[in-house]
Symmetry: none
Subunit: 535 residues, 2 copies
């Protein structure tokens, strides 16, 4: 049987990935990640579970506009004892702005008996009823066959009956889930091989977990057996040991197995960026050993390796690092970088001659700053300002003379605890001194208030600028509260622009000031503000 070469990618970072212990996406995080996934050309973006928590409700009420992707809501089949039309859980899923739904249901008889405590035949009705009803409201419906592999091993007839019920109810995709992650690749191959005899592979999806460290291999085995939808998360995020890692799946499917995943031109080169963007958003350390995108993935240490690599990189590299937006690192000679910097220039639309002396200088500065703890992958605006500064294409709008921030907490005369923060700033704006004081409910907020008060009379462009996210990370954790602090700030304005900036210092207020300074300068530059002139 000839089969299409097209594999559909379904990203569940924002839904199953959000189940990771310690992971807590904000609405802004979800929007930023979804926009990046859409830009790459991912087919399906599952945004969360409407009705399950306030973050998902807000995200589904006002999702980003997608250019390529289908936006999917996750939900559960209806409860026993009521119709799909009267199920409040289903109602909250079907009333969002998502036009597609992925509905999870059981396929393991043991779960129907023990977890749900519902009659098995009745449960088949529940699947059919839920999906038929959803089909009347949505463009596309899908069925996540929870515990499919365990279910198939225990009772293949019942597992297949669950799939058949969903298929008959019009589900576009039937997704075979290895929910507990305990299935090995040769078992996936055998079971999927049996399933595709009854249901065509272009109606089947695969969803695996990494509990035996085989999530990627299990997914590839299923695709080889005929499955054509692949579910995964960025960096393999997900509860317990995580989901199948989309960042590894994509190059394996495309570069090594020759599948068409529908990704846009240039998408593959953004994988390294995407991987690090997620870590920065979640304030998580990057996995340096990650396949394809880790900082060590193309690092060569031994002298013999290095000389062979210099003769021909193919001797010790399975793919060219630039294909996935990563870079070769020669640990001893440390000559990495220029091509990377040039690639970043192209990304921000700066057309620079590689021989411009500013390029070499910038390379030095970036290396030095990254060794201090700066990370420009999640701070595009700071990188752009740094680059433009070296190339003399951005003006100095103001400079800091000093700031002082006070934060206190005490019990007042009435016995109430009161907290207060106050900041003073002294700025030099084209030779004139501006001195202002601001209050806030935290020291950084107070500093932000004082800065705006000092700058607004000169730069009214700042009126519509607001801070949408603020993250702090401690870099040298051995130092505890004395360690280096990295602050990342995301800003937005009324034109719908968003930009990220970074500041690093042992002092959190100082690091915050640096990130605020970049955020304000970027806004003024982008708005084409005229620098104030000396009186």
């Amino acid at each position: 049987m000839s089969q299409s070469n097209r594999v559909y990618l379904f990203d569940t970072t924002l839904r199953d990935g959000a189940q990771t212990q310690g992971v807590d996406f904000t609405v802004a995080d979800k929007a930023a990640i979804a926009r990046e996934l859409d830009r790459l050309g991912i087919d399906y973006i599952e945004g969360g579970w409407p009705g399950a928590n306030p973050t998902d409700d807000r995200f589904f009420a006002d999702p980003p506009e997608f250019q390529n992707a289908k936006f999917v809501a996750f939900g559960m089949t209806r409860r026993a004892g009521r119709s799909a039309a009267n199920d409040p859980g289903l109602a909250s899923i079907l009333q969002t702005k998502a036009r597609n739904v992925c509905m999870v249901g059981k396929t393991w008889d043991f779960h129907v008996d023990v977890a749900l405590e519902v009659d098995r035949a009745e449960y088949l009705e529940m699947i059919a009823d839920s999906l038929s009803y959803a089909k009347t409201r949505m463009d596309e419906t899908m069925f996540d066959a929870e515990h499919f592999f365990d279910g198939y091993k225990a009772n293949p007839d019942y597992a297949m009956a669950c799939l058949a019920a969903a298929e008959k109810a019009g589900a576009r995709w039937l997704v075979l889930c290895d929910t507990n992650g305990g299935t090995l690749p040769h078992e996936v191959e055998r079971i999927v091989g049996e399933v595709v005899k009854k249901i065509p592979g272009d109606r089947l999806g695969i969803h695996t977990h990494n509990d035996t460290e085989n999530a990627v291999a299990n997914t590839l085995a299923a695709v080889r057996a005929g499955v054509r939808q692949v579910q995964g998360t960025i960096n393999g995020l997900g509860e317990r040991c995580g989901n199948a890692n989309m960042i590894s799946l994509i190059p394996n499917l495309v570069l090594k197995m020759g599948f068409d995943t529908g990704l846009k031109d240039g998408a593959m080169q953004r994988l390294t960026h995407l991987s690090r963007l997620l870590d920065d958003r979640l304030n998580m350390p990057t996995n340096r050993s990650a396949a394809y995108v880790g900082t060590r993935a193309f690092a060569h240490k031994g002298g013999l390796h290095v000389s062979a690599v210099e003769k021909d990189p193919k001797t010790y590299e399975h793919v060219d690092p630039e294909i996935v937006g990563n870079q070769r690192i020669i640990v001893v000679s440390d000559q990495a970088g220029r091509s990377n910097i040039m690639a970043r220039f192209r990304q921000i639309g700066l057309d620079v001659d590689p021989k411009h002396p500013g390029v070499a200088r910038l390379l030095e500065i970036v290396k030095e700053r990254e060794s201090e703890g700066y990370a420009y992958d999640g701070a595009d605006a700071s990188f752009e300002l740094l680059a433009r500064h070296e190339l003399h294409t951005v003006p100095d709008y103001f400079s800091l003379q000093s700031f002082r921030v006070l934060a206190e907490r005490r019990v007042n005369a009435k016995g109430q605890t009161v907290a207060l923060s106050e900041a003073t700033v002294k700025l030099d704006i084209a030779g004139r001194r501006a001195m202002e004081v601001g209050e806030g409910n935290g020291p950084v907020n107070a500093l932000d208030a004082a800065l705006r008060k000092a700058l607004l009379p000169v730069y009214p462009e700042l009126e519509d600028m607001r801070l949408v996210d603020f993250k702090v990370r401690i870099l040298d954790s051995a130092g505890g509260t004395a360690a280096t602090t990295r602050v990342m700030i995301e800003s937005a304005d009324a034109k719908g622009r968003r930009w990220s900036t970074i500041g690093v210092s042992p002092n959190i207020v100082d690091a915050s000031y640096n990130a605020l300074y970049d955020a304000i300068t970027y806004k003024l530059f982008r708005d084409g503000a005229r620098p104030a002139q000396p009186a």
Copy 2:
């Protein structure tokens, strides 16, 4: 053809694992890890490369006494143009206290041509000569067939001729290496399937790397195709993306595929310990999501999952965590219900009647606090203190009257930028007032210093407590710098304990104080400190 069920384990943590960027074993590290591997019953322990560096020379001059394992030296086939007997590299390998050697050689024609620049026929002689000579000096010789899979794809005849030369020279094992890590499981299956037609599987080994995130799957595919020696490293340590992870391979082979690995009774239960021992030795953070042994590997978050797991753990666990020495974790989160809370009580050793009025109150408090931004799933110590506080089993060691923190940045008389942070605290300790001032390189560090100064004279237990990590997250990002701040602190003490605490406030300093307060209280409580008494 019937084949033995016995798979031999070959650990190369101390050799190939030592190639990891940033990893630097001491002789003591090597001895401690080797002893633990020997205790488990690992068949072969490769200790390093004698002659390559002073650490390995010292380790091979005086290795531990092994009860079970064969101790292996790694080395390279002789150079071109001299006999094996006159090769200084071979000499340093064969003169150590190891009675077994694993010798690496090429099998990819491209490498023989480009990296070695040696005639292909001559290279076959070099393999034969080196292994024959080694065989006269050693108990067991093995041949690491570098780049075997790439070599086989390029020129199967030459790759097989290299294996045949080593086999004829008496090598006990011919180890098929995927040196660049680019081979996928279905290719391993196909190629090994062809090799075993010519060389019996009980003479073949497999050595894979994780560059496509398939190292474990590739190893399992080779074993299923007949290979009977498996090489790997603890936690998948190794250069670039690492080697096959022995910690995942062992339970997959034994629990899921029914192989006999010769491990001692009880060895499997020590896997979690072994994994964390390596991280501690190398001062690396543990991979919380690691298969089988990660702290998250058996963590359950969602309320539905938790109630199903309590009915029968098999619903959401692929194996029993205790089999590998790990444990189930019931995470408290915003989906928490009474069953989560009760399960958590049992885990922290609190025996509480579910009808105790404190339980319902605690549930309310947890829900309310989580809606404010507290997240107890990463802050075990804060959860325990909250619970014990509601159940009146933890004393108040001190209380805060006030603090004031000052952070400033200015340009000094010499034109240098200086930043300064200072904090004052006023505490009530059993009716006595303690007032102290501290300095730091950031406001939280200064506050920490002032608190310790005030408390140490009364509570000397705090002397060995240190902060190992400090993370800040902004929760309601819509508010920008005015938003709610969540601080998480991880602390440790000289007893090897680690605990995490949390603080939430719109003011970052205030939130930090709350997390510091919990960290200190938990330390005092765990040490059984006596609360100070009124004078």
